[in-house]
């Protein structure tokens, strides 16, 4: 990319990020293919960190490949698997390899993943990780010791505009801002009215907000998410719209919905950009952007 993610955020343009999921195993072909599709189409690419607590190739490894291929990576970093020492060490490595963006997450619980008896670390939470980054930037580690060479990151976090109740989520959002978050990528949003209400609150803070867009691939998936995934609410009208798709054209319908939502967010300047999660169908992200007019 011609400009860094941080420059894109401050440029005033409508920022677009997307993400890739590393493989379970050493066959990285598909991940590389997805990186190549996305790297010139979006401002930055997140790499998920053992998403849903499923053991995979590391986020840091995926970010290195994005750098190698000329893209701008966002290192997703959860607090689930590493203690203070390991988190800091990975940040040092990331910095020396030119990775400049970190998304700080608490991480899913271990028990929802595929290593159900493993230990969940969670020594830090997302706001503490943000502060840890700021501390490393000051030239000191979390033990208060001098670093021989500091780091500098554009650090971000996530927020769930559909959380119920919403107030605890907003309090945590503020704590993340105070901890140094510069940008937020939101959990998937589908109800634009509710998201606009969240944005009225979020606009009071000096941070950039990228709305989370998860591609709907079927009415069943939409219904499943709204019933089972915390913080995701798909309005019935959208579920019905997905159900109305002719056989074999549900993904096309989902692409249309995602593109339409993005276009609307941009046109009405609701937020600063979008984060598109195609969950394994990264090859359709350019189609979504085309529908959105981007």
């Amino acid at each position: 990319m011609a400009q860094t993610f941080k420059e894109a955020l401050s440029s005033g343009k409508f920022v677009v990020t997307s993400e890739v999921g590393p493989p379970k195993g050493t066959n990285i072909e598909q991940m590389l293919h997805h990186i190549d599709i996305l790297k010139d189409k979006v401002d930055a690419i997140n790499v998920t960190d053992h998403q849903s607590s499923m053991m995979r190739f590391p986020s840091l490894g995926g970010c290195l490949y994005i750098k190698e291929r000329g893209g701008e990576p966002i290192l997703q970093m959860t607090c689930r698997d590493r203690n203070q020492l390991a988190l800091q060490a990975d940040l040092l490595l990331a910095y020396t390899r030119g990775i400049r963006n970190v998304l700080c997450l608490t991480g899913d619980a271990v028990v929802v993943g595929d290593h159900k008896e493993a230990a969940g670390v969670f020594e830090l939470d997302s706001s503490q990780l943000l502060r840890a980054i700021r501390q490393l930037e000051s030239g000191k580690d979390l033990g208060g010791n001098e670093l021989d060479g500091a780091v500098e990151f554009c650090a971000g976090a996530i927020v769930t505009p559909e959380a119920r109740p919403i107030e605890p989520q907003l309090i945590k959002f503020e704590k993340k801002v105070e901890a140094g978050a510069e940008f937020f990528q939101t959990q998937a949003i589908y109800d634009l009215d509710n998201f606009s209400r969240f944005m009225e609150f979020a606009r009071k803070f000096p941070v950039k907000i990228l709305a989370g867009i998860v591609l709907l691939t079927s009415a069943r998936m939409a219904k499943y998410m709204t019933e089972n995934v915390p913080g995701i609410f798909v309005p019935q009208a959208l579920i019905d719209e997905m159900a109305s798709a002719p056989k074999g054209e549900a993904v096309k319908k989902g692409i249309g919905i995602a593109g339409r939502m993005i276009a609307s967010l941009k046109k009405e300047a609701v937020c600063d950009g979008v984060h598109i999660m195609a969950i394994g169908r990264e090859e359709v992200v350019p189609d979504i952007l085309a529908v959105a007019g981007l």
């Binding site: 689930r80 899913d108 969940g120 020594e123 706001s127 109740p165 107030e167 309090i171 945590k172 105070e178």
Partner: protein, 214 residues
């Protein structure tokens, strides 16, 4: 305070007792009696199950509180039956197992798994309220311990897995931070939730934990 325990499977007990044919059984009159995992009835039932496996049970007793100093006396009183056994199967929490073991050279074998220290909410329903982390934070969190009640022991508010007041790991479990939020709000003290809580000290008392109170 209660030590909450669960009986191990007979299969695991049998594996631990391999090569040990003569068994003395000890239960506890306090926690494991309440949880019905190592009281008088369970000790007698265990005796029958062991006999069913072809073991000889040389005797049994239920110590009033297996983790206190009276245990030594109880072990001495039953000296003969204990001497006649190859091992002691202990149906107490791990505190009792180790207390019994400290007075004997014979092997002690736990019949139970110690799950947590908990409170009884209603008959038969126990829940953990303290993880004994060494630095109590509940003055900031409306008296609810987030180290214990939150699956990820988060100190600065809920994670994204909170869902209508429930936890992402189990829809039947309350989200600790929703409870903390509600109670602080009721108390008019929501500002406490906005206070940043630093990374907790994992080494307040480094393991093995010991203190001397003079």
């Amino acid at each position: 305070m209660k030590s909450i325990t669960k009986q191990k499977s007979l299969e695991e007990i049998q594996q631990q007792l391999e090569g040990l044919s003569r068994v003395y059984i000890i239960g506890c009159g306090t926690c494991t009696t309440t949880t019905r995992t190592g009281g008088k009835e369970e000790v007698l039932a265990m005796k029958e199950r062991l006999q069913g496996l072809g073991k000889i049970v040389t005797g049994s007793t239920v110590i009033p509180t297996a983790c206190d100093e009276m245990t030594e006396m109880s072990v001495r009183e039953n000296n003969q039956a204990i001497q006649n056994a190859n091992c002691i199967l202990v149906m107490t929490c791990a505190l009792g197992v180790q207390k019994v073991g400290s007075y004997l050279t014979k092997p002690v074998v736990p019949a139970l798994d110690t799950l947590f220290i908990g409170l009884e909410d209603s008959p038969g329903n126990f829940h953990e309220v303290c993880a004994q982390c060494g630095h109590c934070v509940i003055g900031w969190t409306a008296g609810i311990c987030p180290i214990t009640a939150c699956h990820k022991h988060l100190l600065n508010g809920p994670c994204g897995g909170t869902n209508n007041g429930k936890c992402e790991v189990d829809k039947t479990k309350d989200c600790a931070w929703t409870l903390i939020y509600q109670r602080l709000k009721e108390q008019g003290r929501l500002h406490l939730m906005r206070k940043y809580q630093p990374i907790r000290n994992s080494q307040v008392v480094p393991r093995p934990r010991m203190v001397t109170i003079s």
